[in-house]
Subunit: 190 residues, 2 copies
């Protein structure tokens, strides 16, 4: 039984051992090698994933083939192409392992069944989504009111662990910068 994810949920809602057991039974373990894809554009996205171990990024390619990282995820985070997952659309994003990963997948259909049987899981996901929603609002405000250096500093404060594990050019990309620009910013900060 995956202990991490149960603790993760118990931070938000109470869970009997029985309920934890039932939740555990719908999880699908998945391992992924670094540089391989969890999701690619066009895929049907029937699962969202909890990260037990490793590091991943979600990104899209624009019309000019430029990559744009929308999200990263490390231990205790969730990742997927959420738009595709929630709206039953084909994926637009790549989700790629940056390190070797251990994941727990949840099928959308299992989730729907679970919500009906044990409504408090609906509560859990409402609260998780709400937090993610608020975090995105904060990110948008940052992009509106901060310049490159400030955004980088904020990133380092918010995600010190991620900053150490991702290569420079991924961080730059996430911040909407070119690697050269981030390099100059880091130089300036020393």
């Amino acid at each position: 039984m995956p202990i991490e994810i149960i603790q993760h949920i118990r931070k938000v809602i109470d869970l009997s051992d029985q309920e934890a057991e039932e939740f555990g039974s719908i999880l699908l373990e998945k391992k992924l090698k670094a540089k391989s894809y969890l999701i690619q554009p066009g895929d049907q996205v029937s699962e969202e994933f909890y990260v037990v171990k490793g590091c991943l990024i979600a990104y899209c390619l624009d019309d000019f083939g430029n990559k744009h990282i929308l999200q990263f995820a490390i231990e205790d985070w969730w990742i997927s192409d959420f738009e595709a997952f929630f709206n039953d659309l084909p994926a637009k994003l790549f989700v790629e392992a940056v390190e070797d990963c251990e994941l727990l997948g949840i099928q959308k259909s299992s989730l729907e069944t679970l919500f009906k049987r044990i409504p408090k899981f609906e509560r859990f996901f409402r609260i998780k989504t709400t937090n993610a929603f608020v975090a995105l609002r904060t990110r948008i405000l940052s992009s509106l009111q901060k310049n490159a250096k400030e955004r980088y500093l904020e990133f380092c404060e918010l995600y010190p662990d991620v900053e150490k594990r991702l290569p420079n050019y991924h961080i730059a990309n996430y911040l909407g910068l070119q690697p050269e620009s981030l390099s100059r910013i880091r130089k300036e900060l020393m």
Copy 2:
């Protein structure tokens, strides 16, 4: 009884007349004149608001006194300082009426009670929040991969009604632009 909001909810979940009644009973009607504030920084934010009529913006002021519009809302949208609302923090945002408004407020405490009595409302808000979450991810992708002109065009497509009702400088601000820049973009588009 406020018919609009019940229809709004019935687009997402089934609702008996009894349940609709109960929901209606916790709503608080609020009217607001144009240019007045629904929320100001420091306020305790105990409500989120459904817009029956009118148009509002949510914005913050940065350290230099510059305004940054995070969200607007017209009929059938929700608005608040959601970070403050969900996390019981003092407001950081202004929420200001751009036009005369009619709103329906829901107290957080009423909502919690409602969720316990009728869990399907938890479902409704989970789904609404999920949609909002996905929309913000799209907005972030746009800010990463599009230039000013493309973002403006996307805005016009997504929110044609809003585009007509907000003054130029509010739209510019929402897009992270100066009014002068938006003016030049519009000129170029003709």
